[in-house]
């Protein structure tokens, strides 16, 4: 289990990065980022076959990932930096003027690892579908991964893409939903309920898996299982239960830390709960 121990340590460091980045500019989205840290860490450090050195926009013959819920940028930037896409110290420029680390991820500044702008929600599944089709046309056997918020599923375009992916048998795509049950204005069920989400995706023709996104052992196991299901004519989606704010006790169990930064005292409390394993940036 040394690999898993290692992943857990990296995840703890990534969480430190997230709260420090958001605190530094008093701006950003810690809640969802902390919730999805285990997943993105496992994806980039364990699951995906990708090349952080000499980033290639086309991503030919490597697995590629799209962050559709772009407000989890602090998480993504931390993991990209720590897998070697760019220098760690650049994390300190997050959300500042002239930075490549924009509030929401963009391609415009040429930050390695980013292949599309995201932030306006609901668009990433369509983009992932297009990229997956291109992989097939190029006889590229690698996979496309994507992450979406559960609140994001209220966007109609997601369901356009859901129908499209099933119709065109996009079976080299593994989408994941951050199923934390919370959005800016409150619990998803009280805003616009997603109803029976598993049944919805199944009825749209997708293969549905579920996992606890904060159990990194389970994440590795289920995503690897998803990989074995590719190539069978159906797109795959993982409904990933997470806890918003995971790892920082006062940020958990509430939607209030969706887009709020910790103050100095709160930062200190948070960092005391998150072990520094790889050295802060």
């Amino acid at each position: 289990m040394s690999d898993i121990q290692n992943l857990k340590q990296i995840a703890s460091q990534v969480r430190r990065d997230i709260v420090r980045m958001v605190h530094a500019q008093n701006s950003g989205h810690p809640g969802g980022s902390l919730g999805c840290t285990d997943f993105i860490t496992a994806l980039y450090f364990e699951i995906m076959d990708h090349n952080p050195i000499n980033f290639d926009m086309d991503g030919k013959n490597q697995d590629i990932f799209f962050l559709s819920n772009g407000h989890l940028s602090a998480l993504w930037y931390s993991v990209l930096a720590r897998t070697g896409y760019f220098k760690l110290e650049e994390l300190s420029t997050f959300r500042t003027l002239n930075s490549r680390l924009q509030g929401h991820p963009t391609t415009k500044e040429g930050l390695p690892g980013i292949r599309i702008a995201s932030g306006s929600l609901g668009q990433g599944l369509s983009v992932a579908c297009g990229a997956a089709i291109t992989k097939k046309l190029n006889n590229d056997p690698k996979l496309v991964f994507s992450l979406h918020g559960d609140g994001e599923l209220q966007e109609g375009q997601i369901w356009e893409a859901a129908m499209f992916a099933a119709q065109h048998k996009i079976d080299n795509l593994i989408a994941t939903v951050d199923y934390n049950g919370k959005q800016i204005d409150g619990p998803v069920d009280e805003i616009i309920s997603l109803g029976n989400l598993r049944a919805k995706w199944e009825s749209f023709g997708w293969h549905v898996l579920e996992m606890n996104g904060n159990d990194i052992v389970e994440v590795v196991k289920i995503v690897n299982q998803a990989k074995t299901l590719t190539g069978n004519g159906k797109p795959i989606i993982i409904l990933m239960k997470t806890e918003m704010g995971m790892g920082v006790d006062f940020m958990m169990g509430t939607h209030k830390w969706h887009g709020v930064a910790p103050n100095d005292a709160q930062l200190e409390t948070a960092l005391n709960q998150l072990k520094e394993s790889l050295g802060d940036y």
Partner: protein, 317 residues
């Protein structure tokens, strides 16, 4: 003035379809997408010959634009076709974020633009699309005037790397430009040299500008006619060089005055070379059902309106 002639009338959308098919034959990276309008966009030949490179998206334009953006990652060149209304206003944010801001090599191919789609009425007659698209940083906006030019433009934009909005229409119009023309993005075409006024026209209104110039010639007025097939980037050099000679301008387009070609020309001239200008365009109105020619007349963007605009701008010279 120079004599303009044509063998037949053809629809610009068929020029798009023919150009797309040519592209399909010579470039394996060309992928076409359509939102349930293959026949209307004249994409049948591409669909029949290259089914593996055609993606039927159904009536879901937002997903079509996002998918097109994704297709570019790995080197495909997507041509996404639907009616101009659904290719722009309906999916503005998808184009803005996933295509323009992301700098993706997507070709947005918009048919049935303007009033001349006719009987379907205002729900389908978008006249804001040029404005919407030219506002997006980095977006190239092209509005060719006839079948041959639309075919040439379709082929040319595949060699340009970056987002392009290609606008064309439904009605059959005089096909008068050369069949073998080379289309240069951003390069205005001087159709007729004149001395009294410059008429800058785009799309279907280019032929109307020629008709107007012929009428005006009878009245002793010499019109320079410039076909602005690329509204963005605007050929500033061509505009300024012509206007510095004629010192009077009329613009003509099948589009809203706000945000259209006239707007672009006026913006350039007001900064570089203030000049009297009249605009033949639709003035803050939605369209309605009718025959294309009836609509052009009713909404004030026909040959006679260009003639009047020239006469009135000359009085301000």
């Amino acid at each position: 003035m120079k004599k303009f002639d044509y063998k037949d009338k053809k629809d610009t959308r068929s020029g798009f379809g023919a150009g797309l098919y040519e592209l399909g034959k010579k470039n394996k990276n060309i992928v076409a997408l359509c939102a349930d309008l293959i026949g209307s966009l004249k994409m049948n030949q591409f669909v029949d010959e290259f089914p593996e490179r055609f993606l039927q998206c159904g009536i879901a334009e937002a997903n079509m634009i996002g998918t097109a953006a994704g297709l570019t990652i790995g080197g495909k060149i997507p041509f996404a076709g639907t009616f101009a209304n659904f290719a722009t206003g309906r999916v503005y944010d998808q184009i803005r974020q996933s295509v323009a801001y992301s700098g993706k090599n997507v070709k947005i191919c918009a048919s049935h633009a303007g009033l001349t789609l006719g009987e379907d009425g205002a729900t389908h007659q978008i006249m804001e699309d040029i404005g919407l698209m030219k506002m997006l940083p980095g977006m190239v906006v092209i509005n060719p005037c006839d079948y041959n030019q639309t075919k040439a433009a379709t082929i040319a934009i595949a060699d340009y790397v970056g987002p392009v909005y290609l606008r064309f229409g439904r009605p059959k119009v005089p096909n008068f430009t050369p069949e073998d023309q080379k289309f240069e993005i951003g390069k205005a075409i001087l159709l007729n040299e004149g001395s009294d006024v410059t008429i800058f026209a785009t799309g279907h209104l280019v032929w109307k500008a020629i008709e107007a110039a012929e009428i005006l010639e009878q009245k002793g007025i010499s019109c320079e006619i410039i076909n602005i097939h690329t509204i963005k980037p605007l050929d500033a050099e061509a505009v300024l060089s012509s206007v510095s000679k004629t010192k009077a301008v009329v613009t003509a387009e099948e589009h809203m005055m706000n945000g259209g070609l006239g707007d672009s020309i006026a913006q350039l001239l007001s900064r570089k070379l203030p000049t009297p200008i009249e605009m033949v365009a639709v003035d803050d109105k939605f369209g309605e059902s009718g025959k294309p020619e009836e609509l052009l007349t009713k909404y004030g963007i026909d040959t006679d309106n260009i003639v009047s605009a020239v006469e009135s701008v000359l009085q301000r010279k």
